[in-house]
Amino acid sequence: MEPSLASYLALSGILFAIGAVGVVYKRNAIGVFMCIELMLNAVNLTFVAFSRYYADVTGQLFVFMVMSVAAAEAAVGLGIIIAFFRNRQSIDVDDASILKN
């Protein structure tokens, strides 16, 4: 007996909710970045679960695309974090307010 499709979707929804809460809750730019990665992984889980239950390879291919986007995001995002730290000596997202007034 396999767990139903609904339980995979529920797990994915719970992980996505945790990630979304973390994006708002964290002050640290790296923490926000890691929570975004968690949300991407939650979406990947739904892709793989649907791919399994409909026996279609497209879901797994798009997981591969999401992983490529996540890798690109890691390179660019961490570059931005380092540049921000160099200017402000902090990676608190609340300090990124130079455009505010």
Binding site: A10, I30, N44, R52, Q60, A74, A75, G79, I82
Partner: protein
């Protein structure tokens, strides 16, 4: 039956690691929790008959991306995250958002488990490397090419961003702005003055 036990084991581990990721204030502990999430999701992919995705998950996420994140954490020598002094209403926003998304997840669980059962096609060859490679280089060739171009752009962007600024004017603008703010109000937290 074995799949169900494994699913609940790894699902519980993934959720516990996810909560620990948000809860810990030390970014290194958060990073290690995130590796736990990645590894348990990879085990769930194995039970979903997707061994290629499971291997790629460990290689790219737990191997490459998290090593990069841990390098940056250690390079910047970060201290622990402090609780917010300003913008405390964001805690309420986070709680509301989390509750709304959880309600949505359980609604989906309820709706999908109530839906009429379809004849599930358990084709074991779908997750194999062969079928993924065939799909990738025949039907989905254009998306793969686009991803390649996007990775090239990301590499160039990463190099440009991480390099020291060659135009001194840009750094001067930021320094002047910081000096101006420090002079304009001598409070510890200049954000309050907005």
């Amino acid at each position: 039956m074995v799949e169900t036990i494994l699913f609940f084991l790894f699902a519980g581990f993934a959720i516990a690691c996810g909560i620990s990721l948000v809860y810990h204030r030390n970014p290194l502990y958060s990073a290690i929790s995130l590796v736990g999430v990645f590894l348990s999701l990879s085990c769930i992919y194995v039970t979903l008959a997707a061994p290629f995705i499971a291997a790629v998950q460990v290689l790219i996420y737990a191997g490459a991306i998290m090593v990069l994140v841990v390098f940056v954490i250690l390079l910047l020598n970060l201290e622990d995250d402090k609780p917010r002094s300003s913008l405390t209403y964001l805690y309420g926003v986070a709680g509301g958002l989390g509750l709304a998304l959880l309600a949505q997840a359980f609604f989906i669980f309820y709706a999908v488990s109530r839906a009429p059962k379809q004849a599930v096609n358990m084709d074991e060859t779908v997750g194999r490397t062969l079928s993924i490679g065939q799909g990738m280089y025949t039907q989905y060739l254009l998306p793969v090419e686009i991803v390649g171009v996007m990775l090239l752009m990301a590499i160039i962007g990463g190099v440009v961003l991480a390099r020291r600024l060659s135009q001194p004017q840009l750094e001067l603008v930021v320094d002047e702005e910081l000096d101006r703010r420090m002079e304009s109000d001598q409070k510890d937290d200049y954000r309050i003055s907005f």
